[in-house]
Every structure is written in structure tokens, then in C-alpha cells.
């Protein structure tokens, strides 16, 4: 079943066309990789899906409804979550509260319940806390639950960002260079973790990555962007030998 369908998505910054005529269909449960040189428009694509920018043209159909023009927090509520290329945690909040902010998207109490400490507030708060704690345990972050996020080592910060994204209970998960800054061993562990996440939470994933090893092993399908346009699409094996892709990455080839 098709979860996400993007039709003719185009975005311009002033005169620069960051993304132009992007089309894709993502089926439920798929793991799609988006690769391309720096400045190819990959992150802009994520920003367009999640509502940071409003697309100049085109439509982002998520489970049949168009996301273009919706506020970012509504899009999250509909089931799209993301992580960031340069980690963006709530630095002063505890590790647990980072996850609880995300979990709060689905909390079923209002401001009055909170101000008057009504039973519904207490019930929802403690179950939300429980859920967040379980998620932290799942990601082996529970021992840091009360630590401020800014004190977490880099690798764990990446993991916490993933946990936070999952706490919003996404159907579509957008990962922006999840392996950036990790060493080989950490990347291997991340791949294992991602496989487990797919088993347990069953999100559809689109991921941007520069690490070829990572992409080749993880993704079923790849989409290659350069200067905002799609230059290739297909299985990792097909992409690996695509002359256009090689050109984009390595520059003009010597005479063929």
C-alpha cells in the first residue's frame, strides 16, 4: 500500500531551485535511501515534507491527504517524524523529558486538567512517563534518564534523537544522515538498531546518508539527487554502476 506519494515537488530559494519536480511513491514498510552530493537538495526535501518550508509547487500526499501548507506540528501528529543532520536535542531538558515532549503529542489531557491536577492528568502523565521510560530502556538510555541531554556523549545523542522521533509514534520516519560522525563500529551498531526498530515499530523510513556502506546494506531502493533533480533511481546494485551517479559524485569522467 502506498503511504507517501510526492508529485512534482518544487522549491525555490530566490532564484535557486533547491528541489525541482521531485516525484516518488513510497510503499508501507519500505526503507528508501536518498543520496547525492552536498547541496543536492536532500535536506530541503525533508524540510518540505515536514512543513519547515512550504513547497513552491507540487503535492505531498501522505495516506491520501496533502501535507503542503500544514503546520509542522500537525504533520507530526499525522505520523511523520524526523531526526536532524546536526543533532538538535532539547539540551537543557533531561533525556527522559526529551522523549516525553515527543510522547506528549498524543497526551489526552487539557490545560485545565494539568492546572487543577485532575485524575485524568495524573493518569495520562504517569502512563506517558512509563511509555517514555520503556522507550529509553529499549534504546539502552534508561540509566541516563535524569541526565541533561547536553551532557550525553555524541553517539548517545544520536540514539536519543531517534528515540525521540519514535516517541511521536510515526508511520513515516525521516532520518537525516543518522550515521554522520559515527565510527565504523558505531555505524554497525546503528544498522543493527535500525533493523530492530523496523522489526518492532514497523515505520516506513526514508533516509539521507553519505556513508555508501550504510546505504548499500540497509536500503532496498535508492534515489539519487543532484542540483535538486533526480538523476537516478533503483536498487543499490543498479545505482552503483550508473554512469550519471558516478559523474555527479566524481565529476566528468575521462573519455569513455
Amino acid at each position: 500500500m502506498c503511504l507517501l506519494e510526492i508529485q512534482g515537488l518544487t522549491h525555490r530559494f530566490g532564484g535557486l531551485c533547491a528541489v525541482s519536480d521531485f516525484n516518488i511513491k513510497v510503499t508501507e514498510g519500505e526503507l528508501l535511501g536518498v543520496i547525492g552530493p552536498n547541496g543536492a537538495g536532500k535536506t530541503t526535501l525533508f524540510n518540505l515534507i515536514t512543513g519547515v518550508y512550504r513547497a513552491s509547487e507540487g503535492a505531498v500526499l501522505f495516506r491520501g491527504s496533502d501535507l503542503v501548507g500544514r503546520a509542522p506540528h500537525e504533520i507530526v501528529k499525522l505520523g511523520v517524524a524526523r531526526t536532524f543532520q546536526n543533532i538538535r536535542l532539547f539540551k537543557e531538558l533531561s533525556v527522559l523529558d526529551n522523549v516525553r515532549v515527543a510522547d506528549g503529542v498524543h497526551a489526552g489531557y487539557g490545560a485545565m486538567d494539568a492546572l487543577l491536577q485532575l485524575p485524568r492528568f495524573r493518569r495520562e502523565e504517569s502512563s506517558g512517563r512509563e511509555r517514555s521510560m520503556q522507550l529509553l530502556e529499549r534504546f539502552q538510555l534508561d540509566e541516563y534518564a535524569n541526565t541533561q541531554a547536553r551532557h550525553l556523549p555524541y553517539g548517545l545523542q544520536r540514539r536519543l534523537e531517534l528515540a525521540r522521533a519514535l516517541a511521536t509514534r510515526p508511520k513515516l520516519l525521516l532520518l537525516d544522515e543518522p550515521a554522520a560522525g559515527l565510527n565504523v563500529g558505531e555505524v554497525d551498531r546503528l544498522m543493527d538498531l535500525l533493523r530492530e526498530v523496523r522489526e518492532e515499530f514497523r515505520p516506513t523510513i526514508i533516509l539521507i546518508e553519505h556513508s555508501m556502506r550504510f546505504v548499500m546494506r540497509m536500503c532496498e531502493r535508492l534515489k539519487v539527487l543532484d542540483f535538486g533533480t533526480t538523476i537516478a533511481e533503483g536498487t543499490p546494485e543498479a545505482i552503483r554502476s550508473d554512469p550519471k551517479v558516478l559523474e555527479a559524485y566524481l565529476g566528468e569522467e575521462t573519455p569513455r
Binding site: 515536514t50 519547515v52 503546520a71 509542522p72 506540528h73 507530526v76 501528529k77 517524524a81 524526523r82 536532524f84 538538535r88 536535542l89 532539547f90 539540551k91 537543557e92 531538558l93 527522559l96 523529558d97 516525553r100 515532549v101 515527543a102 506528549g104 503529542v105 497526551a107 489531557y109 490545560a111 494539568a114 492546572l115 487543577l116 491536577q117 492528568f121 502523565e125 504517569s126 506517558g128 512517563r129 534518564a145 535524569n146 525521540r164 522521533a165 511521536t168
Partner: protein, 339 residues
């Protein structure tokens, strides 16, 4: 992780601590003056401590928990003071006869301030940081000059003839209400949203936080209580004028917030109390007092840039489930230390 069970009994008797403290304080504030134990002078100081606690903890919501730099808190206070005073003097001039009219006037003043708080929150959608600081400053100056030009409320000369309705029990009750409401707000998803906006607005929005709602909530609750404090002050001094609510007043509140520590209600209580008492205690020093206070503030910032409490909180101000977690964590550390 079996420790929480071990600790359970100790929480149970602690759980009632906050309400007990409140009831005790309220009873004491009512009974002690009645039996002549508290001199009028001490009562006076306690009233200003209470008003400052309301101002400081409400300003902390915007400046500490939300991380903005509002310098307009005195403006909200002015709106509350004039609103409540006009209501109790001109509209309901029998405040003393019907005791419920006084809280009504105070609440109305608070609501007027909250309304303006919403307007400032709308402006905060577009600007943040230093520019929002200017917006709040401009707002404060506009309120002050508007009041100076409004002859209905006495213009620059001030507003006279307000009945003395503020008593120590009222101030204690309102301070407690302020702390209770802000504490409940801060330790709910709304409060976490507000803090997430402080740490990273875009990431918050991308994590499902309605950042606009968070801003409106923070500004309106914060300004509501600033208005309440203004109303209490007006009915305490029985006289208000626009000059009382100038930048210096806002600066005073900023000093108390950052002295106590941002993002901590306990810090606000401490900051307001210490600042008010110290100003009073140093009175014999005359002109030196006014030099000593800023000097101490600068020294505090140099050695403790995050204020006295600095993002920490007294455990009795935390909600029960977080309190358990913290004690469990603390006992884990203990165990590790011993092992």
C-alpha cells in the same frame, strides 16, 4: 532497579508536605497578626516579599522556562494594578462591604494583563531573542505613556483613593496560588513544550510541539500573575502612578529571577525573598545599599552564572512521580559510591 519500592513509605508522608505547608502558612499569616505576634512592620515586609514572589515566579515562566528576555513585566503589572483599582474604586466601590469583590477585582486586573500578554505573544511569533526584548520594552513604554496621558485614571499624577484591601493572608493565598499553578503547568506537557521551545524552537515544532500555543500560554499565564501582583500592590499602597511601573521596576524583577536561577520555581521564591529582605536589611547603609545590590548581582553572575538554584528544583516542588525517580537515581548513586 528495585529501589523505588524501598523508598515508597518515605514518599507517602512527604506527599502531603506541599499542601500542609500551604495550609500552615495561610493559617499563620491569618492568626499571627491577629494575636499581635507580627508587628505591622514585619507584615509590611512579608507583603512585599509575597508580591515579589508572584512577580518573580511569573516572569520566570517567560524568561526562564521559555528562555525569552522580556523586560515588559512591569507593564503587565501596571495593567493589572490600574484594572483592579478602577474596578474596586469606580465600578464596585463597596469592596469592603462585599469581601468577594476584592478577589474579583484582582482577577479582572489579571485577565486584562493576560489579554495584553496574548498580544505580545502574537508578536513573539515573528521575532525572538533580542528583538523580542525590544518589543516587550516598547510595550512597557506604551503602557506607561498611555497611562500618563489617561486623565480618567489621574494621568501622570497617579490614581488615588484606593481602599486598603490587601492583607497578609490575601498575599500569601495569591503567592501560593501562583506557585501552585505555574508548578502544575511547568510539570505538564505544556510546560515541557515551553521548555522545548526554549532549547530549540524548530526541533520542538518538528517533534510535534505547537510552538504558538506554547508561547501564548506562557505569556498569558505569566502576565496574568503579573497583573495580580499589580492589583495586590495597588490595594496595599492605596496609590499608584505610572512612574512606579517603569524599566527600573522590570529590572528589579529581572534581578530577582536571575538571582534565584532561571527555570526553577524554588529559585524564584529564594530570589524574591533574599532580594527583598536584603534590601530591607541594608537600609541603614543608605546610599551604599543601592551600590551594594548591583555589585552583589554582578559577583553572583561571575561565580554562579545560572543563579542560586540554576535549573535545579526543590524536590517538594516536583510532582510525585518525578520525585520518586529522582530519589531512586540519587540512591543509585549512593550505592555506586559505597560499592
Amino acid at each position: 532497579m528495585s529501589t523505588p519500592k524501598l523508598h515508597a513509605p518515605s514518599h507517602r508522608h512527604r506527599k502531603g508536605m506541599l499542601p500542609a505547608l500551604l495550609a500552615g502558612g495561610l493559617a499563620a499569616s491569618y492568626l499571627l497578626p491577629y494575636f499581635g505576634v507580627l508587628s505591622p512592620y514585619v507584615q509590611l515586609i512579608l507583603i512585599s516579599v509575597g508580591v515579589n514572589i508572584i512577580l518573580t515566579s511569573s516572569l520566570n515562566l517567560v524568561n526562564g522556562y521559555m528562555g525569552e528576555f522580556s523586560v515588559g513585566h512591569a507593564g503587565f503589572m501596571a495593567v493589572g494594578a490600574y484594572g483592579a483599582a478602577v474596578l474596586s474604586v469606580n465600578v464596585l466601590p463597596y469592596g469592603a462591604a462585599a469581601p468577594w469583590l476584592f478577589p474579583l477585582a484582582i482577577v479582572a486586573g489579571g485577565l486584562a494583563a493576560a489579554l495584553l500578554g496574548c498580544v505580545v505573544a502574537l508578536l513573539s511569533f515573528k521575532t525572538r531573542g533580542d528583538y523580542l526584548a525590544i518589543v516587550t520594552l516598547a510595550f512597557l513604554m506604551i503602557v506607561k505613556s498611555t497611562l500618563e496621558n489617561l486623565d480618567v485614571v489621574g494621568g501622570a499624577r497617579g490614581f488615588l483613593g484606593i481602599e486598603k484591601l490587601t492583607t497578609l493572608p490575601w498575599v500569601v493565598a495569591w503567592s501560593v496560588a501562583t506557585i501552585w499553578v505555574i508548578r502544575n503547568l511547568v510539570h505538564s506537557r505544556y510546560g515541557r513544550d515551553i521548555q522545548a521551545v526554549r532549547d530549540d524552537e524548530i526541533a520542538a515544532n518538528q517533534t510535534g510541539v505547537d510552538t504558538r500555543r506554547a508561547k501564548v500560554l506562557a505569556f498569558s499565564v505569566s502576565s496574568f500573575f503579573a497583573g495580580v501582583a499589580g492589583g495586590l500592590l495597588a490595594h496595599h499602597l492605596q496609590f499608584i502612578n505610572p512612574r512606579m511601573f517603569d524599566i527600573a521596576k522590570s529590572t528589579d524583577m529581572l534581578v530577582m529571577v536571575y538571582l534565584g536561577g532561571i527555570g526553577s520555581l524554588g529559585g524564584s521564591i529564594l530570589g524574591a525573598t533574599i532580594y527583598t529582605l536584603l534590601l530591607e536589611a541594608l537600609r541603614p547603609l543608605g546610599a551604599f545599599r543601592m551600590m551594594l545590590m548591583p555589585l552583589m548581582l554582578v559577583l553572583l553572575m561571575l561565580f554562579r552564572p545560572r543563579g542560586i538554584m540554576g535549573m535545579r528544583e526543590f524536590s517538594w516542588l516536583l510532582p510525585a512521580c518525578d520525585r520518586d525517580a529522582r530519589e531512586a537515581a540519587a540512591s543509585d548513586v549512593d550505592k555506586d559510591g559505597k560499592a
